[in-house]
Structure formats: structure tokens, C-alpha cells
Amino acid sequence: MQRHDFGYFIHEGVSNLFSHGFMSFAAIGITVACLLIMGTFTLVAYNAEMLLRTLESEYEILAFVDDGCNEAQTKAVGEAIARLDNVKSVEFITREEAMEAFEERNLDEYMRRNILPEMFRDRYAVYVNDLNQVKQTAAAVEAVEGIGEGNVRVDEDIAGGFILVRDVASAVSLALIAILLVVSVFIISNTIRLTTFDRRDEIAIMKMVGATNGFIRWPFVYEGFLLGLLSSLIAFGLQWLVYASVAKGIEAADTLQFLSTVPFSQIWKPVAASFGAAGIIIGVGGSLTAIRKFLQV
């Protein structure tokens, strides 16, 4: 087995890169743009998902228990609800607890003086797994004996917007990843094809004297690898800047208080790893595409 002449391959790869400075620059620019677009959509989808999870854990359906139920019946109602699809957990709230909570929220003296526990009913707070199915779940809860029609309160559809954002962002990022990967591979492969064209005499001589295909291939693989790696480094830095400034903007905006973003410091490792992997896949994929044809004969 021939030794891997690492120093030589890297040297040739780098000099290939500089022999088409402008094309390399353009290829890096386009790959950076592609990585940024992919990264941004993925991060939007990720944040929407995180927000949804928080919302989901806080979101409750209130089911009011019929006044006619005794303690055992009330307990049975709770168990019946807990058995329904999509119900994560059920919490029993007595009318007294409900009144206290109401009083805390409504500080108006007049109202406080005039409410009585009898005005409240025992209730269950129902937590769900999937916000998408709240309506069906609410209907199922309504159908439980001891609850009855009209005795279920579903919060307003605040979740709908986030679900849409998450679903659109996920779909778009998937589609973009596929398209932009192809675009980047194509760009890098064209850049490398230029170098192989420049070096066709050298390649012919290498073949003639008995160089293996691997030996001929390596400098171009390194060239692609370096192009991809440089692109991912630059894209990562820019992504960081963009993410941090958007997060800061959201935090500062009064109307966007309900949005919370995951701090970049918590996610930089997977982001860096994904960018690095994508960059290297693009770079090496591009070079292999470029030299595939070259190595027959």
C-alpha cells in the first residue's frame, strides 16, 4: 500500500484553490449563503418547536364537573378523562381553589366581596400531548358522563400560529436543505472541474507514469474539503451574528414578549457540527462529482 502523502495533497489542494481565486471565492460565497439559508430556517423551526413544547405543557382544557356528582362519581369522571387519547395528565381543582385563584387574578374589591364558592364548580384541568388535536380532545372530554355539553372551556387558539410557523419552517427547511445542497455541490464541483481542466496535462502524465486514481484524486478532494470547511466556518460565524441580533431584537420588542428564543450558547455545538458536516459533505461531494469523469481510462 502506497503511503498517504498528506503534505503533498494538502499543498496541491491549497494551490488549486488559489489558482482560481475568484471562482473559489464565489463558490465559498454561494455555499455560505446556502448554509445560512438552511441554518436560518432550521433554527426558526427549532425555536417554534421549543415554544410549542412550552405552550403545550402549559395549555389546559377546563372541564366542569356536573354539580350532581358525588365524590366517587367526580373521581370516576377524572379517571375517564385521563384515559382519553392525547390526554397527558389531569388535575382536579375544587371550587374553593378555583375561587382563590380567581380572587388572586381579580383584585377588584367589589367583586371579591360578592363572589361565593357556590358560583364556582369543581373542575378538571386537562393537559394534552398534541396541541393540534385540542378540538377533538375537547369534544371527547365533553362526551364523558358527568361533564356534558357546554361544560368544557378551550383556551383561545394561540397555539395555531406557532404550529403553522413550525410546520412551514420545517417543511421549507427540509426542501431548502435538499435544493441548496444540490446547488452548493454543483457550484463547488464546477470550481474544481476548472482546476482539473487546468491540470489535465498533469493528470495525463500522472496516469501515464502509473499514478493510482486515488493519488490523482486526493488533491481535488482536499480542495473541495477546504472549500467546504471554509464555507462552513464563515457561515457559522455569520449565523451566530444573525441569530444573536434577531434574538436581541425580539427581546427588546414590547409586542414580542410572548416569544422566547433559545440562547445561541445552548445550541452552538450542534449548529457548528451540522454546519461543519454539511460543508464537508458539500465540498467533498462537489470534488468527487467533478473528478468522477476524469478518472476513466
Partner: protein, 235 residues
């Protein structure tokens, strides 16, 4: 084991070789030819008779349509892609248009060819001065090809063919782009290389030149061997 079966690792053997190109041209019509280890052979014949086709068969550039080709222990009809580089390392090829890398010095052209087959820097450093001395270019190591005469460029081509110490040197019209006086020098150099133990196959048009050497001449006409003996007019 292949080697014994094919009669030695340093022999070239063609048996009933035919070559029809994709476009239907019949370049070779049944060639049987053996070149033993250490021989010096001139391959002559009119334009289009199939000389370059034979060379391309020997280097694995093209495959025969039928027949057997064995070069230095490699059977060209059975050779795998992985073995082609090994076959080529056993052959040094010289072209009429030199095919040097213009951007590299003489020394770099040679080290490039050695590095391509995985020679260590130390081997390269030891081997190149020896080969340059052999072709008489030790003074020109740091010059670029365009700074050299045609004859000198071809001597660089010969040095490159020699630098990986091949079993066989194959030259396709090495003197076609060199003036007559330099042509004789080139042939003498090839003769000297042959005397040092390398098998040499030279394709040429130059009858006068061939006649100055008392060597085996294979005459090719229209894809067939029509003469094989010592001297051009041997048939």
C-alpha cells in the same frame, strides 16, 4: 504465477492481435510479435500502418478486439483497473511532442513523475541527478522547458521515462520534432539506455537513422507485420 504462464515478467508478447476502432477502422489485422528482455526494436512502417495502435495497446490505453497482449507479466486482456498503474510503472513512455509540464522546471518535471508513484523524497533526491547526468542535462535542472531546445526537451522526456526505473522504454516517434543532428543524439541515448539493461521499443519514420544502428527492425504495413529482422531493409 501469471508471470510463469506468460513466459516471464520482462517480456512483451502479442498473439494474433486484431484491433478495430469504434468507428470501424481496422488498424491491426493479426499481429504476432515477441520482444525479449533487453532487446532494442525499431517499429517502422508507413503512416496509418498501426504503429501507434500497438504502442497504445502496450500501455493499456486501448484494448485489443481479439488476440492476446502480455506486457511485463501483465495480461492486457485480463488486467483489472487496479493493476493498470502497476503495468504503467513497468513502462516508460516517450512522446514526439515531449509532453512536459511547462510550469515546472526540469527537476520538478522529474520529481513530479516520481512522486506520482509514491517515491520518497530521499529516493527522488538520489535518483534525479543520476538520470539527469545520464541524459546530459545536469546543468539544466532548474530551467523551464521553454528555455530548452527541442532536443533538450526530448532528453527531459527520456529522463522522465527513465526516472522510475522501468523494465521497458517505449518511444513513439521521439525524433519527429527534433532536428537531424539532435535526432542521432537521441537515438544514441536510447541505445545507451538499452545497453544499461532496459528494453527499448522505438517507433520511427526515419530510415537513415534506423540504418545507422545494427538493430532489430519490425516493419508494419496496413495492420500486418511484413518484415522482421536486423536492419531496415531486412525483409
Amino acid at each position: 504465477m501469471e508471470m510463469e504462464k506468460e513466459g516471464g515478467a520482462r517480456v512483451i508478447r502479442l498473439k494474433d492481435v486484431e484491433k478495430e476502432y469504434e468507428n470501424g477502422t481496422y488498424a491491426l489485422r493479426g499481429i504476432t510479435l515477441t520482444i525479449e528482455d533487453g532487446e532494442f526494436v525499431f517499429l517502422v512502417g508507413p503512416s496509418g500502418s498501426g504503429k501507434s495502435t500497438i504502442i497504445k495497446l502496450l500501455t493499456g490505453e486501448i484494448l485489443p478486439t481479439s488476440g492476446r497482449v502480455v506486457v511485463n507479466g501483465f495480461s492486457l486482456t485480463k488486467i483489472s483497473d487496479r493493476q493498470i498503474p502497476l503495468l504503467r510503472r513497468s513502462i516508460g513512455v516517450i512522446f514526439q511532442d515531449f509532453r512536459l509540464i511547462e510550469k515546472k522546471t526540469v527537476y520538478e518535471n522529474l520529481s513530479f513523475a516520481m512522486r506520482a508513484v509514491g517515491a520518497s523524497p530521499r529516493t527522488i533526491k538520489n535518483r534525479i541527478p543520476y538520470v539527469l547526468k545520464l541524459v546530459g542535462l545536469e546543468e539544466k535542472a532548474d530551467q523551464y522547458p521553454y528555455e530548452l531546445s527541442g532536443g533538450e526537451q526530448q532528453r527531459v522526456g527520456i529522463a522522465r521515462a527513465l526516472v522510475n526505473n522501468p523494465i521497458t522504454i517505449i518511444a513513439d516517434e521521439p525524433t519527429a520534432n527534433v532536428d537531424p543532428a539532435r535526432s542521432l543524439e537521441i537515438m544514441r541515448l536510447l541505445n545507451r539506455i538499452n545497453e544499461l539493461g532496459t528494453t527499448v521499443v522505438v517507433v520511427t519514420h526515419e530510415r537513415d537513422l534506423v540504418n545507422r544502428f545494427h538493430k532489430r527492425v519490425v516493419l508494419l504495413e496496413d495492420g500486418l507485420i511484413t518484415g522482421d529482422g536486423i536492419g531496415y531493409d531486412a525483409k
